[in-house]
């Protein structure tokens, strides 16, 4: 028997539903959230929500999930495996919010789909209903401070010998787990740029723990908070003024989630793309070598839609001599997700790959020879898709391209 009419384990969900219940009635299941609909001269209509287009049933659209939440609140649907399947097969990319025709989301800022879905996931997690794969990586974060079941002491194994760490610097490079263990070319490129421009920096060393993003996305809110507290405390101890990160997931945590959990942070946080833009503006970064390449840029959801950084990476790309940037039809706020986020890569790898292949096809259609992004996790998934679908398409992180253009 359903038994959850208004009774939630997660306090924030209960609080949210106090005022949000009425908004859940506002959705008319029109599925505009799942589509993407362009009004400019191109007049094209494309797929929006990966979850809906992959799984086809209305329930997988954001509107469907909101409808379900309404039923949950009324006690007509229970928190169980069936509900978990619907809520976890979602990359929490947030495109639904951009596409809604004006029904639910726009009524109030705080009625944000990603936030709501994450709170429902927290409830599911608290009830032991997360996927076993999620439980494994959450366990690994607890044990090893990273979700990849890698040894904590290996976190900085990638660091090239010639790079000098300056403990006096007030700039910290927060590397993140994916750049450290899976996509170390991004970490290497980032430190190499700093080294060549002559910017002193340090890292958190063994005090760098997972930023908490993977935990938070699948509903392990308490753990995410502990990680936030640890990382922020460690940074405070180091007396830093600026933190840069090359991971969109870490960036979102520092920029949005940490302040929500802990209040305003006592240091500035920049994504590498923003930092590079600043260096260019200050004339410190010189891009002199031609990179004769047609590229297209994939906006990571955590950097773009979730926090609003769209222009910095583009400005940096456009500063590269010889490079031509062409946009995919779905870009900036309307970007199609890479498919990796929200715990999907771990629990539903086929869905993650399907989503990434869609993106890769879109990139190829622009005529670009390389796909660029600014997130190791996107990179991870998009590279898998490229390998399977289009090995002729190159993939670079923005930092890697910058290195190519530096004297």
């Amino acid at each position: 028997m359903p038994n959850n009419g208004g009774k939630y384990k997660v306090k924030e969900l209960a609080e949210l539903m106090k005022y949000a219940y009425a908004y859940t009635l506002g959705c008319v299941r029109c599925r505009s959230c799942a589509g993407y609909y362009v009004y400019d001269d191109k007049q094209i209509q494309l797929k929006g929500c990966p979850s809906y287009w992959r799984y086809k049933f209305t329930a997988f659209s954001a509107g469907g999930k909101i409808f379900l939440l309404n039923k949950v609140h009324q006690g007509l649907v229970d928190f169980d495996e069936d509900l978990a399947e619907v809520f976890y097969k979602c990359t929490t990319c947030g495109l639904c919010k951009e596409n809604c025709i004006g029904t639910v989301w726009q009524l109030t800022e705080s009625f944000d789909p990603v936030r709501i879905f994450e709170l429902v996931r927290a409830e599911l997690f608290a009830r032991g209903l997360a996927s076993p794969k999620h439980k494994i990586f959450v366990e690994s974060i607890i044990q090893n401070h990273n979700p990849y079941r890698e040894k904590h002491e290996d976190r900085f194994k990638w660091m090239p010998a010639h790079i000098k760490i300056d403990e006096q610097s007030d700039l910290v490079y927060f590397v993140g787990c994916t750049s450290s263990y899976r996509r170390d070319e991004i970490a290497k490129a980032t430190v190499e740029i700093l080294h060549r421009v002559g910017i002193p920096f340090k890292t958190l060393g063994e005090e760098e723990w997972c930023c908490g993003s993977p935990a938070l996305r699948v509903g392990a809110r308490e753990l995410a908070r502990e990680l936030a507290e640890h990382n922020v405390r460690a940074l405070e101890k180091m007396k830093v003024s600026t933190v840069i990160t090359s991971c969109a997931g870490c960036y979102r945590m520092f920029k949005k989630d940490y302040p929500e959990m802990l209040g305003k942070l006592p240091f500035e946080v920049l994504h590498t793309s923003e930092f590079l833009e600043r260096l260019l503006d200050e004339g410190k970064l010189k891009l002199e070598k031609e990179v004769p390449l047609v590229v297209t840029y994939h906006d990571p959801c955590h950097l773009g839609r979730h926090v609003g950084v769209f222009e910095a990476p583009r400005k940096v790309l456009e500063a590269i001599p010889g490079l031509t940037l062409v946009e995919m039809p779905r870009h900036r706020k309307s970007a199609w997700c890479c498919g990796a986020g929200g715990g999907v890569k771990a629990a539903y790898p086929d869905f993650a790959l399907w989503t990434a292949i869609e993106r890769v096809k879109e990139a190829i259609e622009t005529g670009a020879k390389a796909l660029i992004s600014t997130c190791p996790f996107c990179s991870h998934n998009l590279k898998d898709a490229i390998q399977q679908e289009a090995p002729f398409l190159a993939f670079y992180d923005l930092t890697e391209l910058i290195l190519k253009a530096m004297p």
Binding site: K71, D78, I101
Partner: protein, 553 residues
């Protein structure tokens, strides 16, 4: 103010009838579990057979996925989800699914986009046949025809039409509304050529259909291959009419050939502001009678200003609107009615008509609102008209789904009654509802437009529940109270005034009204259904309890 000629005896008789229908509807709703239990079938077996047919990906018994379909778009008092959802991708699969349903006598509810206001709830459980991914779409420019499947949305059809320089008359529903769902099963609405028909598509614009009958056989009334589009020349009655507005009870339309329109050399939007509905009416009626425009669309200020602000823009003007309180008094600087007019044709012709329309406007005390002014003062209206009229795309910023839809009243009104109906709706209905439920119900005003050269008018009023509580019981109670008030108090009066019926309510209320108002056609419908569908598998909930309805006798 007019003197309203309301025949009280007629009102009383109608009230009694509707209230009986309403209590029947409520009783029936309460019996859903019992009625569902009567339709027993081997669920697992049916599921397995469907999986064998469609694969695991397109069939589900997941309770959460099914729960999404247990309630209609606006209503939330029912919860009657399907047991199984099946997603076919073509006609052959639909046929096979229907055969399986027949074999085990499983109720089957077809759903196109599933956004309608009542009849797509599988009250008796069974299979929900979800056709939203049937997306065959072919434009045949040399014949002015598009062939579509139920999954094709207005957005998709329009964008495809544009590639060929064509258009399909657009309504104000969401971009992803199914064209077939709308043409065949909606109550009709505004569109670019509303002055002609007042309904997007409409039967006359459907040139051929393919229907899966209750036994799984395919009935072809027109096909992809010319020259069989023109079903009017078929033998016997006008068969297509059987499947029109029959809500999937007699057959499932899997393909339709519809008429599309070549776009004109010149498309021009004119917007006017009117100080009262009397001025509006005289102005629009003159234009409509003389076929001076392709489309005329009247918005009550409340609709244009109040709700839009709640939904998307700042609340500043909405607050003004609330302060204005009386639905008769727009805030300063806002016209009582906004009127948008679409002109299509050759440039010289459009230039001439624009001049004539300006003259008639001035004669009626109506002010032309330049588009720049509209854009500056009411950007959401400009955006809406721009997308809809000038870009010829379904509106994204669409005006209905803003706040929890509570109930809608919409239908045709005979021309000589339009002024009275407007007066009753504004002064006696909308305003009273606002007064009675301050803070809860938002009386949004109305949309209206002349139809068929001004022979009829279409009137649409929607009330929204706009203040919120986390208590579902309270929300339901308020909504039910408001619905009952509409049904018991206002519907009979509107009807007695000459309003032609058609009301969108959740669930059975619609059936209750229909059976009360149209007993003859209702009986005939059921007889035909019995003959075509002896196992009563096709959307049985639409007609299921009608024999028990006291109004049917």
């Amino acid at each position: 103010m007019l003197v309203l000629h309301i025949d009280e005896r007629k009102v009383e008789a109608l009230r009694e009838k509707y209230l009986k229908g309403l209590s029947w509807a409520i009783e029936t709703a309460n019996r859903i579990p019992e009625l569902r239990a009567q339709r027993k079938y081997p669920k697992e077996k049916v599921y397995r057979e469907l999986v064998d047919l469609l694969g695991e990906d397109r069939v589900t018994m997941n309770k959460a996925i099914c729960a999404v379909h247990g309630t209609n778009t606006l209503g939330w008092k029912y919860h009657s989800p399907p047991d199984i959802i099946a997603i076919p991708l073509n006609t052959e699969e639909v046929q096979e699914i229907v055969r399986i349903a027949n074999k085990y006598k499983v109720p089957i509810t077809p759903s196109a986009s599933g956004q309608s206001f009542g009849s797509v709830i599988p009250h008796l459980g069974g299979i929900l046949l979800d056709m939203q991914h049937m997306k065959y779409l072919k434009i045949i420019p040399e014949e002015d025809i598009a062939v579509i499947e139920p999954g094709v949305s207005y957005a998709e059809l329009c964008l495809e039409c544009h590639k060929y320089g064509y258009t399909f008359p657009l309504g104000t529903f969401p971009p992803f509304t199914s064209v077939i769902g709308n043409i065949f099963f909606a109550s009709g609405g505004i569109h670019r050529r509303s002055i002609h028909g007042g309904k997007p598509g409409g039967l006359t614009e459907v040139l051929g259909i393919q229907v899966v009958l209750p036994d799984g056989e395919l009935l072809v009334l027109g096909s992809d291959d010319p020259p069989y589009w023109w079903t009017h020349s078929y033998i016997g009655p006008y068969w297509q009419g059987l499947f029109y507005q029959s809500a999937g009870t007699l057959g499932i339309v899997t393909k339709a050939a519809i008429r599309i329109w070549k776009r004109c050399e010149e498309e021009r939007l004119l917007v006017y502001g009117s100080p009262s509905f009397k001025n509006t009416f005289n102005f629009c009626q003159t234009l409509a009678r003389n076929w001076l425009a392709q489309d005329i669309f009247v918005l009550h200020w409340g609709w244009a200003i109040y709700k839009k602000h709640r939904v998307r823009y700042t609340n500043e003007l909405a607050e003004d609107a609330i302060k204005a309180r009386h639905m008769r008094d727009p805030p300063p600087g806002v016209p009582y009615n906004f009127i948008s007019i679409m002109l299509e044709g050759f440039k010289e012709d459009v230039d001439t008509r624009e001049k004539v329309i300006d003259r008639i406007a001035a004669q009626n005390g109506i002010r032309r609102i330049p588009l720049e002014e509209l854009k500056a003062k009411w950007p959401w209206l400009y955006e809406h008209f721009e997308v809809w009229y000038l870009k010829n795309l379904p509106v994204r910023l669409e005006p209905y789904g803003g706040i929890t839809g509570s109930f809608a009243i919409m239908s045709h009104v005979p021309t000589h009654k339009v002024l009275e109906i407007e007066e009753y709706e504004v002064d006696h209905m909308l305003q009273k509802i606002e007064d009675k439920h301050p803070g809860w119900i938002c009386a949004t005003g109305y949309l209206a437009w002349p139809v068929d050269g001004g022979r009829l008018w279409f009137f649409r009023t929607v009330e929204f529940l706009n203040d919120f509580s986390d208590d579902p019981a309270l929300m339901t109670a308020i909504k039910e109270e408001a619905s009952t008030e509409i049904m018991a108090t206002h519907m009979p009066v509107l009807r007695a005034l000459g309003w032609m019926g058609g009301v969108a309510y959740p669930g059975f209320d619609m059936a209750a009204i229909a059976a009360a108002d149209y007993p003859g056609p209702y009986k005939l419908w059921k007889k035909i259904k019995k003959a075509l569908d002896p196992n009563d598998v096709m959307n049985p909930s639409v007609l299921m309890a009608v024999p028990d309805n006291p109004e049917e006798g």
